[in-house]
């Protein structure tokens, strides 16, 4: 204990000869709410499945609560909450029966919490699971994952099926329930504003590589966007110190994302004529890094 509840190192994975993950490493601090972003097809779901031992990597290691992901003990599995992108349902069961059934397997099962959530979200326990809307199904999956009082909670695109109000509810639940009980959370999303609200850390997967891992609060203070006009772009030497990405704009200028240590100075061209210096919002930053 005390180590990282979820980590992987040097993960490689191919499907049918195509590289899906290329040397990906990640380590979650205990109690962190880790947001994983990336465009569709970047490899987010594959990474999550490898982290949880649901899929075998070609090489590299994944460790869950100090056990190899592929050989997790039942005791660890009972402290792991997982909400897949499309929660599987025992469609023929009623909501209440399913939750009771599942709860029997978990020693820490929090029945009052389950009842409180169902009431708050107006889902009657007597309804058949097959009659729930996609959003309701997502909520049931979340209730189920949180009710086991997990030490580690992993959610794959939890907000995808939800409308904005329901999404806000889900984020609130994550922030309060997980954030306060010290549960470590990993969730993937492509909705950057969600990430920014609840995440303590952000990781960005692009072209099957990890291009960014940073604490959320420092991110905006340690990253800047330099807009270099076309004249200046000609004179620019090779890679700038701290340069993360460089994109040639249609007007011949350059958009460059640079990173610095907090408190350190920005690289030299930041103060020169022909270079505009911007603090990008998270969304702009992610777009620059992934386009």
């Amino acid at each position: 204990m005390g180590g990282s509840p979820l980590r992987c190192e040097g993960i490689f994975k191919r499907y049918d000869g195509n590289v899906v993950l290329n040397d990906v490493s990640l380590s979650l601090l205990p109690g962190a709410i880790f947001g994983l972003v990336g465009r569709n097809g970047a490899g987010k779901t594959t990474l999550i499945q490898i982290l949880l031992g649901l899929l075998q990597a070609d090489s590299g290691s994944a460790v869950v609560m100090d056990e190899p992901a592929l050989a997790m003990t039942d005791a660890s599995k009972r402290r792991l909450g997982y909400v897949p992108q499309q929660p599987e349902t025992l469609g023929w069961m009623h909501v209440g029966d399913m939750l009771n059934f599942v709860g029997d397997f978990y020693p820490m099962w929090d029945q009052p919490y389950v009842e409180d959530c169902l009431k708050r979200w107006s889902i009657a326990p007597s309804r058949p699971l097959s009659k729930l809307s996609p959003g309701e199904r997502q909520r049931i999956a979340l209730i189920r994952a949180l009710a086991i009082r997990p030490q580690l909670l992993v959610l794959d695109e939890p907000a995808a099926a939800l409308d904005p109000v329901a999404r806000r509810d889900l984020l609130r639940e994550l922030a309060l329930r997980a954030g306060e009980s010290g549960t470590t959370v990993l969730f993937s999303t492509h909705i950057v504003s969600d990430l920014e609200r609840v995440a303590s850390h952000v990781a960005c997967l692009h072209h099957h590589k990890m291009v960014l891992i940073a604490p959320m609060d420092d991110l905006k203070e340690t990253h800047a966007l330099l807009q270099v006009n076309s004249d200046m772009a000609e004179q620019l030497p090779g890679k700038l110190p701290g340069e993360l990405s460089r994109r040639r704009r249609s007007d011949g200028g350059l958009s460059i994302i640079v990173v610095r240590d907090s408190g350190a100075v920005w690289p030299a061209p930041a103060g020169e004529a022909g270079v505009q210096f911007e603090s990008p919002g998270l969304e702009d930053l992610i777009i620059e890094l992934t386009s």
Binding site: I33, L171, A175, V192, E196, V198, D217, G263, V265, G281
Partner: protein, 129 residues
């Protein structure tokens, strides 16, 4: 004060903890929040805006360090008495030090005359009054 009185803009260039710090600083400086007034709990702010409670704690903690807020038993965070706030000018100035040092270094790198930098700083200070 109610949690919904804070405005949180995830898209902005400022991190969320800083948005909270700046708003509370302004409200306290302009006496819209007076000494002794309670702040909403971390949980209520986090719940209202669906944000990470640690972000709210961090903002409150920074303001506590600045002497603007203090923890009171049973009441949670309250706006500190203004005498205490005055006493801590030096400590607050200390917190500006890293930023100021940074500016000095950059001014040197850009080869700017001291006079120009100081004048510019005065203009900016005046504008934010």
């Amino acid at each position: 004060m109610n949690p919904e009185d804070l405005s949180i803009r995830p898209g902005a260039a400022e991190p969320i903890y800083r948005q909270i710090v700046e708003q509370l600083r302004r409200l306290i400086a302009s006496k819209q929040l007076s000494s002794g007034e309670s702040l909403p709990s971390v949980r209520d702010v986090a719940g209202q805006h669906a944000i990470n409670p640690m972000t709210v704690s961090r903002a409150y903690g920074l303001l506590e360090l600045e002497g603007l807020l203090e923890r009171q038993r049973g009441k949670g965070m309250v706006v500190a008495a203004s005498r205490r706030r005055l006493q801590t000018d030096d400590r607050r100035l200390e917190q500006l030090e890293p930023g100021l040092t940074d500016i000095v270094r950059q001014a040197r790198e850009l080869g700017l005359a001291d006079r120009l930098v100081v004048e510019r700083l005065k203009v900016l200070l005046e504008r934010e009054k």
